[in-house]
Symmetry: C2
Subunit: 140 residues, 2 copies
Amino acid sequence: MTTTRQDLSELLERSGVRATPRRLEVLEELARESDDVTAQQLWSRLRERDSRAGLATVYRTLALLSEKGVIDVLSHHGGEQCYRLCGDAHHHHLLCEKCHRVVEIQECGLDDWVAAAANEHGFVATEHRVEIVGLCADCR
Amino acid sequence: MTTTRQDLSELLERSGVRATPRRLEVLEELARESDDVTAQQLWSRLRERDSRAGLATVYRTLALLSEKGVIDVLSHHGGEQCYRLCGDAHHHHLLCEKCHRVVEIQECGLDDWVAAAANEHGFVATEHRVEIVGLCADCR
DNA sequence: ATGGTAATGAGAACCGTTATCGTTCTCGGT
DNA sequence: ACCGAGAACGATAACGGTTCTCATTACCAT
């Protein structure tokens, strides 16, 4: 888990995003969250930490980071986007329908299945998303 | 493809939804669309056909139909929901990133993989969604 | 230091969706 | 056929999340 401010700063630069104080605050808060958060949640938590970051900046930063592939966007709450700092590699998500915990599934292993399913309908797959919803160990 | 008004009416009743003229109009328009549509698109197309259906009714009907499992909701356009009349059985979607065509993948065959991936993290899977994005035969 | 560009904050604007409310329709019982 | 209760409907206001605007501030190369 990258947590030091230095690590996060390097992560930004490496992704082609200038590491400004505000962006570091946002990323730091994302690193602190184990699950996904909405832009508004993130903003109010920053406020609680005496950050003067504006809501617009939070939205701008989240849009920028997701565009650069630094964070993931989940839209499982119809109408509201959730953001999460994940590993770099291709992965999928496991969601607990009760406590809303989010866990990454690292080993995809679905490429062949995806390619075959796409091919069957004349498609060439460029990406795929899988979301498994269920109950986590604590909730069942 | 169920297209006659009679078929659609029976589909509604079978799903526990009273078949009113407005609902039939909405469902009929959905049956006419090969791809997914937003509520607003659906509404304006109904208007073009001299339907006096209100926007609220379109939203109400779409919410009701998706709740009853008659139609699918896709939220791949972040912030805007798309609706589609699909087959009854469990299936996934193949999306063309260029022309936005949507094709159903009937044979899932992923249950074992899903169960295993969930189990590996202590989860019990209750449902899963797969979306493959790529280029269709016409667009590549 | 200085000028140009990028980033930021506050608040307005936007847009998709939902709620409100008065009217209309549907349907079973008569 | 008629009637009454409850469901459905249409118009429009309200809502909430997101994006835009614009004036101000921070950053960087010169």
